[in-house]
Symmetry: C2
Subunit: 425 residues, 2 copies
């Protein structure tokens, strides 16, 4: 019984016969230099990043403050102040004889704006009145009051709950979770703060491992000593403080299986990095966590996703946010993520065997073509090129396709070579 090498070599040779390939995937290991040499390109990227002037331009710098609205992360005291002043405002209006009414910013698509200079979606300034003394808005005004009250309680008690918990606090009033959820987003916009500032959190599903220590609710967490399972990313990023790291980059991994491979091989000990996965579509907690790391550590983020439209969709959620949370996009997004792999051009370059490539469905191709029109893709010609290869070849591949060259090909050859060659776009 022997290891896979002979089998895979055969597969690789076969692939070579099938079509002209640029590299012999199994000979690539010989090209690898010493770890310190391998990291040269990453070091340059990191220096470049650190020497960049702060790019976080604000709406006021762009002269958009009047016509646009952005929310900010606020601490419990900040939120309490906002709630109290909102209620005070209502009281004043009542005393003026104008009745009990909230002014609620519109979150409709027509009120959303993509700002290229920010590379983010923001809300325009349209808002609507929500008077209590109107049959059309009475119930919603009451729900708004109740949500404001509940958020006030959360901030006073310094506790976090889920949207589901919030709903169950007053099912008689809310009736459907949709009602409490959507008013919660309204309230975030009204108070100009992020939804997570309201102490209402999403359930977490992300995991982190690698060269990172931080404090979480007072506990010191060392992510380099978290075995192979890693540390669960906390649902409430405001409990994370004192972030420290000697990592040179953050490796953002789409899939659980790749994360496990890298964690078990302790990839971060060979190439100092922080490895994060949200196991597919990123949840809010993982996005907030990534953003926090990027902001505090100022190191590059390299992404390892499947070579399919879904992999790019995931990158787009990290980079520019999702539509229904657009009011919160500043605080959720990490622009400037480098696409390390698996890129459509890698399939040829690494001679991924024919049988490990999957045909794209019509739906896939449609999604791919739609992505080609999106601003965040068009902003980067290299991404356009890759996506064009994908759509033209109608072929996709998963990260795991690399397993065809051996289980540890990903951690021992593919990724080190990518780093060594600075092969990201």
């Amino acid at each position: 019984m022997c290891c896979t090498a002979p089998m895979s070599q055969r597969a690789a040779k076969k692939a070579k016969l099938d079509k002209p390939s640029k590299l012999d995937p199994l000979a690539l290991k010989k090209r690898l230099k010493a770890p310190d040499e391998i990291l040269k390109e990453v070091r340059l990227l990191a220096q470049e990043l650190k020497s960049q002037p702060e790019l976080s331009r604000t709406l006021s710098e762009l002269g958009l403050l009047e016509s646009c609205r952005e929310v900010k992360e606020k601490d419990a005291h900040g939120v309490l102040d906002e709630i109290e002043s909102a209620i005070f405002q209502v009281a004043v209006t009542i005393l003026n004889g104008q009745g009990f009414s909230y002014s609620v910013p519109s979150r409709a698509k027509g009120n959303q704006l993509y700002v290229p200079q920010l590379d983010r979606i923001v809300l325009k300034d349209s808002a609507s009145q929500r008077p209590f003394a109107s049959t059309a808005t009475c119930r919603r005004a009451v729900i708004t009051t109740r949500i404001l009250q509940l958020v006030h309680e959360l901030c006073v008690k310094h506790i976090h709950v889920t949207k589901r918990d919030l709903f169950y606090t007053d099912v008689k009033l809310f009736e459907e979770q949709n009602n409490s959820d959507s008013v919660l987003d309204d309230v975030a916009c009204m108070l100009s703060c992020t939804r997570s500032s309201l102490h209402v959190v999403a359930s977490e599903k992300g995991v982190v491992v690698g060269r990172l220590t931080f404090q979480e609710d007072g506990d010191v967490i060392n992510c380099a000593r978290m075995g192979v399972g890693g540390k669960a990313i906390p649902p409430n990023v405001d409990k994370v403080s004192n972030v420290q790291s000697d990592a040179m980059f953050i490796l953002l991994v789409e899939k659980d299986a790749a994360f496990m491979r890298l964690a078990e091989d302790r990839f971060y000990n060979h190439y100092p990095c922080i490895i994060i996965t949200a196991k597919g579509q990123p949840d809010v907690a993982s996005r907030l966590f990534l953003r926090k790391l990027k902001l505090e550590l100022k190191i590059p983020v390299l992404a390892l996703v499947d070579a399919d439209p879904y992999g790019l969709k995931i990158l787009s959620v990290y980079m520019k946010g999702s539509m229904n949370m657009s009011y919160d996009s500043t605080n959720l997004t990490t622009p400037d993520i480098k696409w390390l792999g698996v890129r459509p051009s890698d399939l040829e370059r690494f001679s991924i065997p024919e049988q490990c490539r999957l045909p794209m469905t019509d739906e896939d191709v449609k999604t791919g073509k739609k992505l080609l029109e999106e601003d965040f893709i068009q902003a980067n010609p290299e991404w356009v090129k890759e996506l064009q290869i994908m759509v033209a070849s109608r072929v996709k591949a998963e990260i795991q396709a690399l397993s065809s060259f051996g289980f540890q090909y990903l951690s021992q050859v593919y990724l080190p070579l990518k780093l060594q060659e600075g092969d990201w776009v």
Copy 2:
């Protein structure tokens, strides 16, 4: 702006008017004694458990060894030995002129047996030949050989991969992941060892927090210092060693949101326990982890699940395993889990407001009735009673329904009272 109390009190009073309720949910807090007093019942349960003779009866003690088959957890060396002897066996058969053939135990439903003395499903002794020199089985014989070879490689290298990785190692041969997956289960039965012994693991999704320390791949993990996010349960339980704890019980939680509440409130500091959730349907890693804790620590496991058929289904997976992994049931199951809550009888007892109770669908009722016939329910008259209440009332409720009495009602009143009264079945 005030806290929820007045609102909830009103709701509670309303519920009281609606129907005769036994307890005023908000007055219950006054009944609570000091933490040490509260834990008296749990202490008795733990003592009872520890004084029980080892109940893990074996097939041979039951005289079933000849007619039944169970698999065991084996370390890498054990698996390598088994593979080598399986291949040796094949070589002998070839030399004897009987040709290249594997003897593969049947995993079909007809070959499964529920053993009440073990409270587990085991495999009966039916097996089939898988000769290479037959058009019907040739491909499957080749796949079996390839899987044996790959597992051999994993055990030699001491690395773990997912089923998906395994599939991608030789897509040309396997064609569909079904093929490599099902042969992997065959191989586990052939070698009489668990699937996780083969170093093929499922992706983890469980989280743990509380009074527990263990070593994971050499790293010391202290689950009492894991912030509010907790520690991700490792995909490979064989890397977990040196389990230590001063916890008095394990609290098994169905839902993420309840886990978060208990973690943030540091419930385990008030009532020494280990809190585990698999976020819904338990994955293999979480089941293995729970079983390991129970075996090593010999402390009671108390379950907090939704009061619906799905909550019981989840308990059944923990306690007696799922059908398609029945050959592995011994090593995956934790019998003797106590059902703490939320039980159908709690809905009346704690006066859960009418609007927080959900009507059961016809599908729910069907599932409930089917569960009533299952052995693991019938073995416990109290469970039967609870399930009968659920089916008769056609009403279900989620753990979060307790939020209607305040966000921290779960951690500050409901659970302490349950513990104090020894209210589990």
